[in-house]
Symmetry: C2
Subunit: 423 residues, 2 copies
């Protein structure tokens, strides 16, 4: 048997133990993990220093090196995130519905853990603790496969967390870090469909496409956020301007940032010049359609590639549209099912927009930047699903569980004639 299969089988056995843990035990486990991460800070920092050194030697720099870097305050941040996850409501055991059938059967829908979750991620070592904590809180076992740049940091963090599990008499295999980072090993992991219940890729589009291509296990993808703000004919223009600036400039590198502005033609002449002025003050480059460019001399032309792009940068595509239907049509063609916003004072327009847009998050008069597990009340987030199955939008602990049926009877049979003594 291959090494990765052996690891995964042990993880599956451990999932059975995780499945049955009560809330208090899980909370105590996570708190002890958080304490251990802080207590063994120096071990983590020493491992991280080795990662940073190797990364620098490979010529990695800038934002990527920064994502890799840990320091005292970041470790405190990681520990506190684990404590926050411990404080979440436990989704496991939650009875979501209860019904008594005419024959007296009591049917409950009850949340249980998914089982074994494979997290596939890139350079940030904080994901190791963060994703593990959320998976464990939801009663799952987890297989972590991080990026090679962070391997030493990930191994240090995983060892600390596994030691805590063993002290709690929980098999450490419930938190398994894959140290063999060869591609063929990742592919094999993604094909263990008798063992792994769900794979969650978290990282750039290349990683997610790789996982989707090779996986034979279920995958919840988060491709990209090509988020739109549509300024309706009846929009409050000052409000629209606030949402536009917040959505585009408050953190352009994240998936819930705005990428495209759609403007109803009736307000384009009034709104676009104001928008362009404020956006340019914020250093945003605009790329527009013919009608936008007719209103705003000197604006760059937008191509179809621009409309499909997740710029993750201070660039905004702009299009003037004939009406709400045309805005919806543009979003259907170019959108990524992540988050779309309408700005309107017209309730009927808002209703029509919500009704027609199939994205995971649809907002009326609010910033796209709220499309986030924490902001929407999930407490923590393991990713934002753009897969229209199981979970759609920000995924918290509950999205790492599934509902099943628990049925209680008093001897009911489906075919009474099969009752012994009556046949």
């Amino acid at each position: 048997m291959s090494d990765i299969r052996t690891l995964a089988l042990a993880c599956r056995d451990a999932a059975q133990v995780m499945f049955a843990l009560d809330t208090q035990t899980k909370r105590k486990l996570l708190h002890d993990m958080a304490d251990a991460l802080e207590a063994q800070r120096d071990t983590i920092l020493a491992a991280n220093a080795r990662d940073l050194q190797q990364a620098a030697a490979k010529g990695i720099q800038g934002a990527m090196l920064d994502r890799l870097k840990l320091d005292e305050s970041r470790i405190t941040g990681i520990a506190n995130a684990v404590r926050e996850i411990a404080a979440l409501p436990d989704p496991v055991g939650l009875v979501t519905r209860r019904d008594t059938r005419p024959n007296g059967l009591e049917v409950e829908r009850v949340r249980i853990p998914l089982g074994v979750i494979a997290m596939i991620y890139e350079a940030r070592p904080n994901v190791t603790a963060d994703a593990a904590a959320l998976c464990l809180m939801a009663g799952n076992a987890v297989i972590l496969r991080g990026g090679s740049e962070a391997l030493n940091s990930n191994m240090a963090i995983a060892k600390i967390l596994r030691d805590v599990m063993e002290r709690h008499d929980i098999p450490a295999a419930a938190l398994t870090l894959v140290e063999d980072l060869r591609r063929e090993t990742m592919i094999e992991l993604l094909q263990l469909n008798d063992i792994v219940d769900l794979a969650i890729p978290r990282g750039g589009e290349g990683l997610i496409r790789f996982v989707a291509e090779h996986a034979r296990v279920p995958v919840i993808k988060h491709y990209k956020g090509v988020c739109h703000l549509y300024v309706d004919a009846s929009a409050d223009e000052a409000l629209a301007l606030n949402l536009l600036i917040d959505g585009k400039t408050s953190r352009p590198g994240v998936c819930n940032a705005l990428e495209t502005l759609l403007i109803h033609r009736d307000v384009a002449e009034s709104f676009l010049p104001k928008a362009v002025q404020v956006l340019e003050e914020h250093g945003v480059e605009l790329r527009g359609c013919e009608r936008s460019r007719a209103l705003m001399q000197g604006m760059h032309a937008a191509s179809d590639e621009d409309y499909a792009a997740e710029f993750l940068d201070l660039i905004l595509a702009v299009r003037v549209v004939d009406d709400l239907g045309a805005a919806v049509g543009h979003i259907q063609r170019f959108g990524s099912d992540h988050t779309e916003v309408i700005v309107t004072r017209d309730d009927e327009a808002a209703r029509r927009f919500v009704q027609a847009i199939r994205s995971a998050v649809v907002m009326v008069n609010a910033s796209s930047r709220f499309s986030d597990g924490g902001e929407l009340g999930l407490g923590a987030e393991i990713g934002i699903s753009t897969t229209r199955l199981h979970a759609y939008g920000p995924m918290g602990a509950e999205a790492l569980t599934v509902e099943r049926f628990v049925v209680r009877g008093e001897g009911q049979v489906r075919h009474p004639s099969s009752r012994v003594g009556r046949t």
Copy 2:
């Protein structure tokens, strides 16, 4: 572009229309479909006669030929099933949760259709109408790929349904029947992961494995039902006997029939002889462990293959176990995550069993034969998922939808400093 991709793209466009249909329109559509099926009964029967003729020429007979065969009463049954689906509560638009965030944002979780569902099934032509109706009622578009034996019947049924859609000004592409039944075309369909939101295979294990192997779209599988009945030390033996006979003999060929009996050693000596007597009266062949065979001379020996088998026949595997934990261990090793039953008068034992068993349906003192969408209150069923993701257990209309986020605000921004005029 390949033909199947062209078909699927048209189906995806039509999904956008289905997405926005209101409940009354969908109900009227389904009722008109049911009426049309009955009105054009002769067309369906003529097509079905061609299928039966070709099947007979290929040497198909017995249960398989029977599954293929339609007659007047079966067509009435199909039409009535469509009417029952029309009467179901519409899951689309259901607000499952509502929350106001501290910043005043109103966050709703609202059910929306999945989008495009590919149904892959075998010989029963009733699935064409049944699955289509359930997918449409949940606001989805559907691609139907049935078995070659039923192609003429399926084409006749699909044409009738599509004609009704066109009369309702709904694009007929929302109900697309694949008439090119080559394997490579099915594989291509299963790899259209930019178009198809979910594939549901419904049929034998071979079909399901084929779909799982080739799919790059999400799949909800229903492999098989190796269902267990565990008779606990405190069981009411008469009740256990009723559940055993109902579970094994009332319809042995279905997935919620019992395949294995587990008996606590303390009651084996008393219960097993009675069970064997009644089972043998019903023509059931038993295959037991050493301890069962020591109690019941002449019982066949059970192999590990027997314990893993879905017999779909009047055969029952038997094992005497030391305690509840050993019963759970057996189910973990040999079960298929479908349905397990405990018979007990001990509430604590019931609690422990439910807590330890991870199957989709767990029953206390009720027959496994109730593991069915209709019996558990879903109204209709598109399959029984043994995939621990999205839906687990019987799947009704709601399982063909997903929750997304609808957020309403009054201009809230995430970083107030980005408000224009305050920067």
